[in-house]
Amino acid sequence: MIDRDREVVMIVDDEEMVTAALERFLTMETPYRILAFNVPAAALDALDSGPVDVIVADFMMPGMDGIQFLTRARERSPETTRILLTGYADKENAIRAINEAGLYYYLEKPWDNERLKLVLRNGIERCTLFRDLQAQMSALAGAHEDLNAIRQRLTRVFL
């Protein structure tokens, strides 16, 4: 089901025109697979069904605001890069977003497409690096365990 060759970008905004505009632009200009949601709760559920590289979330949304949403997304998928796209920019919320949701980037509406592309690419790279690092770490842990097993076997053989 999951196309591992394409990076996945999730867009969450209660305004359909925003998700639609982003989706149109990104499908045309980037190779990413775009998952667009207008309801944050549905987006959270979708996080469980497959890896997502970057999330772009609106701030003002019904049900939960962007920061709450990203905070929950972080619990479910810590490696995913989180970006806030908001028309309601104030310092207080920016600080909250960074501290609570571990925000990677803070974009303001109206946004610049070129800049968005750049931020997404960097975000995906960050996520990929994060995953690679985790893979390597687990590989290292596996190797370590293997080594331990071998050592134990050797010890048993010689003693």
Binding site: E15, A20, A21, F25, K109, W111
Partner: protein, 495 residues
């Protein structure tokens, strides 16, 4: 001397009658004496001793003059001793006059009565009695001196006869005179004292009254000043409240515009890129199936983008239409409008406040078009809806009800907010009254709403229960009163 005692004495020191009257009184007596002397001299052929004239002249000149002078020195510490000395002097002088007017006979004796009465009028009580006693003793001394021959008799008004050589007659006449002098003067003193005390009390009461009224005048002046200040501040505040509400409106609208504008902004870029790609594909000249597929995809994309733009533009047009119903400042004439449209416009502009936090229930009744200054009525709706939204902490419901009630329409805005405490309910239309804290509003929203509705010939009432919510009802007449010449000049929501 304690200040208070001196004050009392000085208050008492005022002569019981005016110096002018004392002067006239004594002058009248002197004139009578002269007339009598003339009658006796020429009518009866009796001689009048010239000494009596000298004594009476001295009395008339010195005593009233002193009285007049001392009347202007009542605040001096020497006033009382000086006046006492002069009373003694007067008594001595009058006793001497009594000697020349017939000694122990009635007329001479009673002359002293003037002095003792006046003395008692000045000082009632012990001091007055002492004065009377002194006069009586002085008269007694005169009688004794005449009886023993130390001073000679002056037979004037009583013809010399056996009676005057009878000690019993002399003594009894003296005793009756003394009794009359003491009795009358003391009684006069009592009355004067009572009157004086009453006058002092009255003066005290008067003084207090004057103090109170002065206080009253002062506080009245202060109040008037404060009221003028308040009016000025209120006028200023209403002006800034209008600006503040304008700012709030602008902020809300800017926020609402941001979303469609963001989409259009992005779509314009997408379209430009799509056009560039299509141009590239066409310029390459060779159109294989792959190129055609790409072109088809691009065209589909463009159509999608345009659909998004349509939605966005519709949203912007809608917002601007709503905004226009607020924007016409100070319409010269009322317009016939649908109040439901006004409510919907207001709700559209408050979308960022309401969001999904508050459920809006519409229970609109059939409502005829209402003549009003629609922009101002929309401001009233804005104020009331904003208050309702701000009263709701967390989630809640705002219910809008409209109905026709005779020649009036009723717009009811009910919230499930925190409610208004009963003790605040009377004050919510007062300027500056707010429970929202200084950062939220200026406490003028309801005042302005109240003024607007009142100038339309309607009124606002309110029901509220703490913890349950509030209901604001706006009553508006269907037609504007023709007398309301100028359009109401206030506006704006302040929250």
């Amino acid at each position: 001397m304690k200040a208070e005692t001196r004050e009392r004495i000085q208050a008492a020191a005022g002569p019981p009658w005016s110096p002018r009257r004392a002067l006239l009184y004594r002058g009248g007596f002197l004139a009578t004496m002269l007339v009598l002397a003339y009658l006796f001299r020429y009518g009866f052929g009796l001689a009048l001793h010239p000494a009596i004239f000298l004594i009476l002249l001295a009395w008339y000149l010195t005593f009233p003059l002193f009285f007049l002078w001392s009347g202007t020195r009542t605040d001096s510490r020497w006033f009382l001793p000086l006046r006492s000395i002069f009373y003694v002097y007067e008594i001595v002088l009058l006793v001497a006059a009594a000697h020349f007017l017939g000694g122990v006979t009635w007329l001479g004796m009673l002359l002293v009565l003037f002095a003792t009465i006046e003395w008692n009028l000045q000082f009632d009580g012990g001091l007055g009695a002492a004065g009377s006693l002194f006069a009586v003793l002085a008269l007694g001394a005169l009688v004794l001196a005449e009886a023993t021959g130390v001073v000679s008799h002056v037979w004037l008004f009583a013809p010399p006869g056996a009676l005057h050589r009878d000690p019993a007659y002399v003594v009894s006449t003296y005793l009756v005179s003394a009794f009359v002098i003491v009795g009358v003067s003391l009684q006069a003193g009592n009355y004067a004292g009572a009157i004086r005390r009453r006058r002092l009390e009255l003066e005290e009461v008067n003084r207090r009254l004057e103090e109170a009224s002065a206080d009253l005048r002062r506080s009245n002046a202060k109040l008037e000043g404060a009221y003028a200040d308040l009016r000025a501040v209120q006028a200023q505040a209403v002006q800034s409240a209008r600006l503040a509400s304008l700012g709030m409106l602008v902020a809300g609208v800017a926020h609402e515009l941001n979303t469609p504008l963001g989409a259009i902004h992005s779509n314009r870029d997408t379209l430009r890129r799509a056009a560039a790609r299509l141009a590239d594909l066409l310029a390459a000249g060779r159109l294989g199936p792959e190129e055609l597929r790409q072109m088809q995809e691009l065209v589909e994309n463009v159509a999608g983008v345009i659909r998004v733009d349509d939605t966005a533009v519709d949203r912007i047009v809608g917002l601007v239409t709503h905004l226009r119903s607020f924007g016409r400042p100070d319409e010269a004439e009322g317009k016939v409008v649908d109040l439901h449209e006004g409510l919907e416009s207001t709700l559209a502009l408050l979308r960022h406040v309401i969001r999904d936090r508050i459920e809006i229930r519409r229970e609109y009744g059939p409502l005829p078009a209402v003549e009003c200054y629609s922009n101002q009525i929309n401001q009233v709706f804005m104020n009331l809806l904003l208050n309702a939204a701000q009263a709701i902490r967390g989630r809640g419901t705002i219910t809008l009800r409209t109905r026709l009630a005779g020649a009036q329409v009723v717009v009811e805005i009910e919230d499930t907010g925190v409610g208004i405490a009963p003790e605040h309910l009377d004050r919510i239309f007062d300027p500056g009254f707010t429970t929202k804290g200084s950062r939220v509003g200026m406490g003028l929203g309801l005042l302005i709403s109240h003024q607007i509705v009142e100038r339309h010939g309607g009124h606002i009432d309110v029901r509220s229960e703490v913890g349950r919510g509030s209901v604001f009802r706006v009553w508006l007449p269907l037609r504007l009163a023709r007398t309301a010449a100028a359009p109401p000049g206030v506006g704006g929501s302040t929250g």
